[in-house]
């Protein structure tokens, strides 16, 4: 029979701590990362004041420098330049409208008319909150300085054009 080697060298009671240290640092890293990331980001927006009695609340816009973007159903937008009804709105998806903004801004800047390029965002009843945030984000990325949100004055011809395209 094999005998248990009890009288031999006594093994030291040392434990290998390496895996434990690994685990500890993993947890530490996890806590550091989660605590700093968990604070959500926010988007700063301003809407025009509703008080119509104040004359300074009315803003004059130049037709050649104003782009109106209507947010509609199915993540689609309808945009046009200048005054409503003069040209048929172009229908595009929310993600693709950035190129149109860049193009229109170039044309507007080249026209020589003084004033800033203005984007008017009109979210309609068909759009989602996501569409709205995406649109405002796109304008921020493209550094469009003058942007207005208008969800009260959706004109009849705008509604008509959107209905024809099936996005309202």
């Amino acid at each position: 029979m094999a005998e248990l080697n009890t009288g031999g060298k006594k093994s030291t009671p040392r434990v290998d701590m390496t895996p434990m240290v690994d685990l500890m640092f993993l947890l530490v890293t996890f806590f550091i990362l989660t605590t700093s990331i968990s604070t959500p980001q926010a988007m700063d927006i301003a809407k025009p004041d509703k008080n119509e009695k104040l004359p300074e609340n009315r803003l004059e816009l130049k037709a050649s420098k104003t782009m109106t973007i209507l947010l509609g159903k199915k993540d689609k937008v309808a945009w046009y330049m200048g005054v409503a009804g003069t040209s048929a709105p172009t229908i595009e998806s929310v993600s693709a409208v950035g190129d149109a903004i860049v193009k229109n801004r170039k044309t507007a800047d080249a026209s020589g008319v003084p004033g800033d390029f203005v984007v008017l965002v009109k979210p309609t009843s068909g759009s989602t909150f996501q569409n709205f945030v995406d649109m405002m984000d796109e304008l921020e990325i493209l550094k469009v300085k003058v942007r207005q949100i208008d969800d009260d004055n959706i004109l009849d011809n705008e509604k008509q054009a959107m209905k024809e395209q099936g996005i309202l």
Binding site: V28, D137, D151
Partner: protein, 204 residues
Amino acid sequence: MPRIKVKRTSTVTDMTAMCDVASLLLTFFILTATARQPEPLAVSTPSSTYEFKVPAENNAILTIGQGKVFFEVAGIKVRARTLELMGEQYGVKFTPDEIKRFSVISTFGVPFASLKGFIAMSGTDRMKPGVQRGIPTDSTDNQLNSWVLQARTATKEVNNQDMRVSIKGDAKEEYPVVKKIIDVLQKQSVNKFLLVTNAEAKKN
């Protein structure tokens, strides 16, 4: 010349000290981290590239999802004062114990009439489905308007700073629901908002 004997040292280092430090750090982080409050209304916020942190103080968060709106104001003292002011407005008296209990509730969505019962509930009962049905925003009984107004007053009184309003909307929420809430705020001449979003990597 005598040969120099190179002494071989063992590569095994004592990890105990390192382990101590790591666990100390771990304990520190666990204790300092603020526990995430359970949310009665889970929303998935849209993402944006904005880099602006939601302020931890002087802030009210309106959570919008499933057509309902929930309210939260930051700061325990501000919450207590807000409830007192709301009680004065609606002619309801709250006991100091109720105010204390209310001040630790973060997000809630119950009509003011059932608020007393809601405060008396236990934390788990509050989270049960059907208990919190949102704050009424009808034009006849616009309680959200009162909450925001009293929270602004309370923030001004307690912190002497202006309160910001953050809107935490669900990405799938239809715009008219959000518009309705924004209109309530604009009636009070609150024209600047923060939209709570998820961080997204910047393009280009």
